[in-house]
């Protein structure tokens, strides 16, 4: 479809999706979290066209989600590193992962696993909490629109 921009949206979900762009772009971010830092590594891992990847990486740099840094091995290469804003996408990736784990695998299918490096155990499922610490779910929430900054 003709892409409609949600860059100015009042809804943070819409803005976030607008910034992330095409459906596969978040896999670049996932790769960055997994330690892939070079164009060639990412290109090989995702198997997408070089031109498309280059354009998407440029966009992520422009948005301040990735930054170009000197290669960690001292070579002349440049590498892509997550900025603080980019690292903020970690829970988006984890939430997608946990939904995928719970709903998109048949019994017995091999899948990757996110583990706590200290114990080697899988991380706990994400949960949503109210400000007072109660665990809550969708039915206990609502979206209020047009909230001015002063009310936040």
């Amino acid at each position: 479809m003709k892409r409609k921009s949600f860059r100015e949206a009042e809804c943070p979900v819409a803005r976030a999706l607008d910034a992330i762009g095409d459906w596969w772009s978040l896999l670049i971010i996932r790769d960055a979290f997994d330690g892939l830092r070079r164009f060639s590594e990412i290109q090989q891992n995702l198997g997408i066209a070089k031109g498309m990847l280059a354009s998407r990486l440029r966009e992520f740099v422009k948005l301040g989600i990735l930054e170009l840094v000197p290669a960690s091995d001292g070579s002349a290469y440049q590498e892509y590193a997550l900025t603080e804003k980019g690292r903020g996408l970690f829970l988006v990736v984890v939430a997608l992962r946990q939904w995928g784990e719970g709903h998109l695998y048949q019994k017995g299918e091999a899948r990757s696993l996110l583990v706590d490096t200290r114990t080697g155990q899988p991380v706990a499922p994400l949960r949503l909490y109210a400000a007072d610490g109660r665990a809550i779910d969708w039915p206990e929430t609502r979206v209020e629109s047009k909230v001015a900054e002063r009310a936040l």
Copy 2:
């Protein structure tokens, strides 16, 4: 780009993104969480072409993320409702929202807010916890690949 399928991917993030499809499709799910249930409501709210929306809704029904149910007002209309699998996307939407809130708004810009219906207070930021209850972040995690079911 020519769409590469990650339907069989070992990585749950890739499978999840494959199931969700185009970047704007998650806005349909957001609308469902916000209580929009009719084709015309969703179409009007997103402002996307009817054919595209119809095709994406069909896909979501096929994937078991949405289901068609009789209209809640007893009329002859059908409505789209989230299945349990679809409701599982709530934390994906919340994670996107919180990232957007934190990184994509200028000071003073109006935005919508997710609140706890009991108290009217904004929900707490999502956090990741280890199995033993420690709060952890990206640097304390790693992805293990090709984990067989029996090891889970």
